[in-house]
Amino acid sequence: MAIAVFFVAAAVALIGGIGVVSFHQPIRSVLSLVLVMLALSVIFLLLSAQFVFAVQIIVYAGAVMVLFLFVITLLGPARELGRGRLRYQGWLSALFVLVMLGLMWTLLQGVQYRQPDKTDMSFFGTVQSIGVGLFTTYLYPFELTSILLLVAAIGAIYLSRKRIDDL
């Protein structure tokens, strides 16, 4: 049963991924990405990451993607037309990315999986364990990340301020 869930979710993620890259209209790309994120959140749930599953949906799909949608609305629906100026970009990219995929697969073959740590699986992935981790061992990165968010917010405000000479 879990296997079936995994395969369905994986298929949806792949279809969404292809959709992200293929659609000419950006809005459809964004929606495909949302689909991918939802599929991934299901997979996270399969992997006993309940909190991450929730955060993925609420924050990532719910906030960041909405942001993208707002920007698309602001900028207008633009279609990508024509072939573009760089003639070999497509072929070279496909080639190298395929090579990269092949490399990753090769590296995957040689992964030496470690013995899992002895943990209490009942607490694994719960909000409690996340909280404990964030506020004790990983307090420092947690605080830094919040500062990062602050900086990003300030940056966004600054960049989108009204200029005197236009608008």
Binding site: M1, A2, I3, F6, A10, L14, G17, I18, V20, V21, P26, S29, L33, M37, I43, F44, L46, L47, S48, A49, F51, V52, Y60, L67, F68, V71, L74, L75, E80, G84, R85, L86, Q89, G90, S93, M100, L101, M104, W105, L108, V111, Y113, R114, P116, T119, F124, G125, I130, G133, Y138, T145, V151, A152, G155, A156, L159, S160, R163, D166, L167
Partner: protein, 109 residues
């Protein structure tokens, strides 16, 4: 060691990792091939997601919470980066039509 006991069935961790690799490559192709800056940013988000999947997979395989915490951080950073990137994009779009990233190949303007 790579088999995960999920809901009674045995799944192999390498499937998840393979899915992550494929999604990552798709995102890379998107960044390389698409010319609309918005789509490029979206593809970057896709790559980030793929990385998150790898992290959570290993977290489950090693039964260690560090992976999930790392994934949380990654999501935060991705959010911040999307915000700033989009703000820059909007700023450029005020001055000129930014439909093709190739048009933005000069620093002027």
């Amino acid at each position: 060691m790579s088999t995960l006991d999920i809901g009674g069935s045995q799944l192999d961790a390498s499937w998840f990792l393979l899915l992550s690799a494929v999604l990552f490559s798709l995102g890379a192709v998107g960044v390389l091939v698409r010319r609309n800056p918005l789509v490029i940013l979206i593809s970057i988000e896709l790559m980030l997601n793929a990385a998150n999947l790898t992290l959570v997979t290993f977290s489950r395989q090693l039964q260690n919470m560090e992976g999930q915490l790392f994934a949380l951080m990654s999501m935060t950073v991705a959010a911040a980066e999307a915000v700033v990137g989009l703000a820059i994009l909007v700023d450029i779009f005020r001055v000129r039509d930014a439909e093709d990233v190739d048009d933005l190949s000069e620093l002027k303007g």
